[in-house]
């Protein structure tokens, strides 16, 4: 019965789409080369069993279930978007494209257009087929004033141009500017997840009307239960259209994912220790080193996992403002680089938990220049460089002086938990005869001050992104003016030429080569000095949670930082590998009652660790 009604419904939709596609019929270019990829290895475990409920927590109940508009930019959005498939996805180990909603894709000659063929099986969670018209609607939706979302409105105006329908399953997306292929994919596929046209019939009063509406999605799970203020439950779609796609087999195993609101992290930790939560993110040193101790760990009920990834890292480090009279001098900058004792900070304060960063673009695979080594602490060399710049004399307080001026800088930063690091650096710089005064402001104010280029030195980071970014940070277009990311005020014709070439190139190999050169130049100019990387995630989980032999993927954390967090269970490109062993759960709980113990397990997986 149910089957037949949905079949009728489907055919009505097909007719509807056929009629609309008859009106506008642009022609596909003839020379398109359709690509697909079903050759890459799968990364899920063949041992996975379906079933069970994964219990996770939220620090606060989401303010909305919309993914756009006011209050939608919370962390819960990841759960909603993670269940919205992309047209094509990046294989999280090989970095190559693999099919998603689309089975085939092609690149236009104009470097602006990407063509897609949708999978005819693709369905929204309410059974309606996904068609090219949904993508056209996405533009209409995002540009609508009703969604009250300036960021998305701008993105769909300044970055994305249009979607063109060729037939119900074939369409193209065009960007405003020319893009290299990697970025083209990001813009047209990753940043453009479809919106179900049939669901938003009347956009008027969107913000209020759809605030708690569960919108149709294309991913493995859908929301099935909402207890306002208390919990949200996602259930696995038993007849998910994509469940048999090559890269989805043996993934998305748990039947339900239940997020319970626990307002305090410490309290959530207590819930975890009682077994009421299955997994817990312990990336923070305090949780990994201090709190993850005791009976449940020693007796092997809870396992610890430290998993290294090779995901793009932020550009953490110190940024020297070259508009500063003293920092203008390359020798001074080199002197600073040789007296920057980040190693001591890492080893003696941060428990060697971090990795020393070597180049600004670490974690970008072939784009990372692995030849570059960050300058090491060497006071003799620092002395030499400072002397070359005329700063050989030291004052009574041990700080270098030149013409009555002291070698003293303020470092601007925004987070209290960075103070210990800078306090140690300050004392270390003192040895080299350089004074550092700490300028801690609240995060927003400090970033504003840096954007306005009011800093001497900024201790900070810009997010990794999918591809290295150089134009914003190092091109002279952005130097000496407020509200740009060129925090070093780098204004160098050689750099400009390389960046321009990097931006206009559409060939990945060539771009990688240019990126290497750029990183070398950034290293040579020493206006950005390398800080720390966090190329891993750390979790603890009850022993009934099972993971593949390699418990993650190379690009894990490209978008979401944690294996088990929402994207762990959901994210269609790299998550959903874990499963629950019900037998083991029963066994463990009985063992816990009786005091029986298992071997303690701490897994440190370095499969994807990049050796520095």
């Amino acid at each position: 019965m149910i089957f037949s009604t949905s079949k009728i419904l489907l055919s009505v939709w097909w007719l509807l789409f056929l009629s609309t596609s008859l009106q506008a019929a642009p022609q596909l270019p003839d020379n398109l080369q359709w690509l697909t990829n079903n050759e890459d290895p799968v990364y899920a475990s063949p041992d996975a069993i379906k079933g069970g409920t994964l219990n996770d927590w939220l620090a606060s109940f989401p303010l909305t279930l919309r993914t756009v508009g006011p209050d939608s930019n919370g962390s819960f959005r990841g759960n909603l978007l993670g269940n919205q498939m992309q047209l094509v996805q990046v294989h999280p180990n090989t970095r190559k494209l693999i099919p998603g909603l689309a089975t085939h894709w092609a690149y236009g000659d104009d470097n602006k257009t990407m063509y897609f063929k949708l999978n005819p099986k693709a369905r929204w969670s309410d059974g309606v087929p996904v068609t090219a018209h949904d993508f056209v609607f996405t533009f209409e939706f995002m540009r609508s004033k009703e969604i009250v979302d300036p960021w998305h409105a701008n993105f769909f105006k300044d970055e994305l141009d249009k979607a063109t329908v060729y037939d119900d399953l074939t369409f193209s997306v065009t960007t405003i500017k020319e893009r290299p292929r990697d970025e083209l994919h990001d813009h047209t596929s990753e940043d453009m997840r479809p919106i179900a046209r049939h669901f938003y019939k009347d956009m008027k009063g969107f913000v209020k009307k759809y605030n708690w509406a569960v919108a149709p999605n294309t991913g493995a799970y859908k929301i099935t239960k909402i207890k306002k203020g208390k919990s949200i439950t996602f259930s696995r779609k038993k007849d998910w259209w994509a469940k048999d796609l090559k890269y989805n087999v043996n993934r998305f195993n748990v039947d339900k994912v239940k997020f319970t609101v626990i307002r305090d992290r410490n309290l959530a930790w207590e819930h975890f220790k009682k077994g009421k939560l299955d997994v817990f993110d312990t990336t923070l040193p305090l949780y990994w080193h201090e709190k993850s101790k005791g009976k449940i760990f020693d007796k092997g009920y809870v396992h610890k996992l430290w998993f290294y990834t090779e995901s793009p890292q932020s550009s953490q480090g110190i940024w020297l403002n070259q508009d500063n009279e003293i920092l203008k001098d390359l020798n001074v900058r080199l002197g600073i680089a040789h007296s920057f004792n980040i190693k001591k900070v890492n080893e003696q304060v941060l428990r060697s938990d971090y990795e020393l960063k070597q180049t600004i673009s670490s974690g970008f695979g072939p784009f990372t220049n692995k030849q570059i080594r960050a300058r090491e602490l060497d006071l003799a060399k620092a002395d030499e460089y400072f002397a070359k710049a005329g700063w050989e004399k030291r004052g009574d307080d041990g700080i270098r002086v030149k013409n009555g001026q002291r070698l003293s800088f303020a470092v601007t930063y925004g987070y209290d938990h960075h103070t210990p690091r800078l306090v140690v650096l300050k004392e270390e710089f003192k040895r080299a005869g350089l004074e550092l005064s700490l300028r801690k402001m609240d995060p927003a104010a400090s970033f504003k001050s840096v954007l306005e280029k009011k800093h001497d030195i900024w201790w900070g980071a810009l997010g990794g992104g999918s591809w290295p970014q150089y134009w914003g940070q190092f091109h002279s277009d952005n130097a000496h003016k407020p509200q740009t990311n060129n925090f070093t005020n780098t204004d160098d014709p050689d750099m400009d030429a390389l960046i321009d070439a990097f931006r206009s190139s559409t060939n990945t190999a060539e771009r990688a080569k240019l990126a290497h050169k750029l990183q070398q130049l950034i290293h040579d100019q020493s206006a950005w000095i390398a800080g720390l990387d966090v190329p891993y995630i750390r979790n603890v989980y009850w022993r009934w949670i099972k993971l593949p032999k390699v418990p993650g993927t190379r690009l894990l954390g490209r978008r979401a930082p944690y294996v088990f967090d929402y994207n762990g269970a959901f994210e269609v490109s790299d998550g959903g590998q874990l499963w629950i062993d019900k037998k083991a759960k029963k066994e463990t709980l009985t063992a816990k009652k009786k005091g029986k113990s298992y071997p303690a397990v701490t897994r440190i997986d370095k499969t994807f660790k990049v050796e520095n």
Binding site: E290, K344, E347, Q348, V349, R351, L379, D383, R394, G395, D396, D397, G398, D416, T419, P420, L422, V423, V424, K426, E427, K430, R431, A432, G433, S437, L438, R439, K440, M441, D442, A445
Partner: protein
């Protein structure tokens, strides 16, 4: 100056003060601490008091940095005297006398195998342990005390100067001037002090003096009300009328006649203002809106301590220190109030 002439009345007050034991002893201990804190560099410092090296004597406490090279070590930066002591002892080429607490409040005493905070230890000379970045708690406590007490004293002097003169003027001139200032003060005192400080210190980084200025913005108000009332009262007395009749100017009447007669009010308030100054700075530092890192401060220690309750030595040291100082100041305040009270037997609640 009648203020400093020890007239019989003053002598009586001083004797009365001395007779109140706990106040008097608190006063002596407190002043000794303040005085000692002025010379904290001699007592609590990483620099040695005296170094004898190859027949030469060095006194590094005050004055320029002595690079390691001069004392036979192989580096350009400031000598680590604790290491030097060990080296010279081994070589026998001289000796080093270190202060009782051989750490300055900024240096990080870090180790290779352990991570701070380190518990109190006689062997390492960390008598109260270290904080989360390996800085000596005792050292930060001492220098934090010095900062707090001088912050509070400077704040007190300036806020009293402003408060007393405006209050006296209000009471003395009365009329429109009084009315106007009353309203201004009422409005001003309704501005939420803490929010203003939070906003200001998120835009600019306060230093010692700007922080005094910020707290002062709202700190001068209290004294005006008392001074206004007292001046009102004194103004109606015959001696003021007499002075006026003799042709004394307004400023002469205020400063030479009225003010000396209100001094008992001012003095009784001083200890409590000192206490509130210390508390103000400590709470601002605790909330992270006070002096910038790495200035040693009690508030910063308190916040570290409360975030690291498993390292009890941090929070307990600063709480004990604060309690002792504030209790002593309160004792002094009580004693002064009593000494200036014309009535011999008064009970305070």
């Amino acid at each position: 100056m009648s203020l400093f002439n020890l007239n019989p009345l003053t002598v009586k007050k001083i004797n009365r003060f001395k007779s109140i034991r706990r106040g008097y002893y608190s006063f002596i201990i407190f002043m000794t601490l303040v005085l000692l804190s002025c010379f904290a560099e001699v007592l609590v410092n990483s620099r040695a008091l005296m170094v004898s090296y190859e027949g030469n004597l060095y006194f590094p406490t005050y004055g320029a940095v002595i690079p390691g090279k001069i004392l036979g070590l192989d580096y350009e930066y400031e000598t680590n005297y604790r290491d030097l002591q060990k080296v010279l002892k081994k070589e026998g080429t001289g000796f080093v006398i270190l202060p009782p607490i051989p750490f300055n409040p900024y240096e990080n005493d870090l180790r290779d195998t352990e991570f701070p905070p380190f518990p109190p230890s006689l062997k390492d000379s960390h008598y109260l342990g270290t904080d989360t970045i390996g800085r000596d708690v005792a050292s930060r406590l001492v220098y934090g005390f010095r900062t707090a007490i001088f912050f509070s004293l400077i704040l007190l002097i300036v806020s009293y100067l402003i408060g007393v003169s405006i209050g006296a003027a209000m009471g003395y001139f009365g009329g429109l001037f009084d009315l106007l200032f009353q309203r201004i003060i009422e409005i001003w005192s309704n501005i939420p002090f803490l929010y203003v400080i939070m906003i200001i210190s998120s835009i600019m980084i306060p230093n010692f003096y700007t922080l005094i200025a910020i707290v002062l913005l709202f700190g001068w108000i209290q004294m005006t009300w008392y001074m206004r009332t007292v001046t009102y009262k004194e103004k109606a007395r015959e001696y003021v009328m007499a002075a006026k009749a003799l042709g004394a100017s307004n400023s002469r009447v205020i400063f030479n006649h009225i003010l000396p007669n209100t001094v008992s009010i001012i003095i009784t308030f001083i200890p409590f203002s000192v206490a509130s100054g210390i508390i103000a700075l400590t709470s601002l530092d605790y909330l992270g809106f006070g002096l910038p890192a790495p200035t040693p401060s009690w508030g910063e220690l308190l916040s570290q301590g409360s975030n690291n309750l498993e390292s009890l030595w941090i929070v307990s040291s600063v709480i004990v220190a604060m309690t002792v100082i504030l209790v002593m100041v309160t004792f002094i305040g009580e004693a002064i109030r009593e000494a200036f009270d014309p009535k011999k037997h008064t009970t305070y609640e």
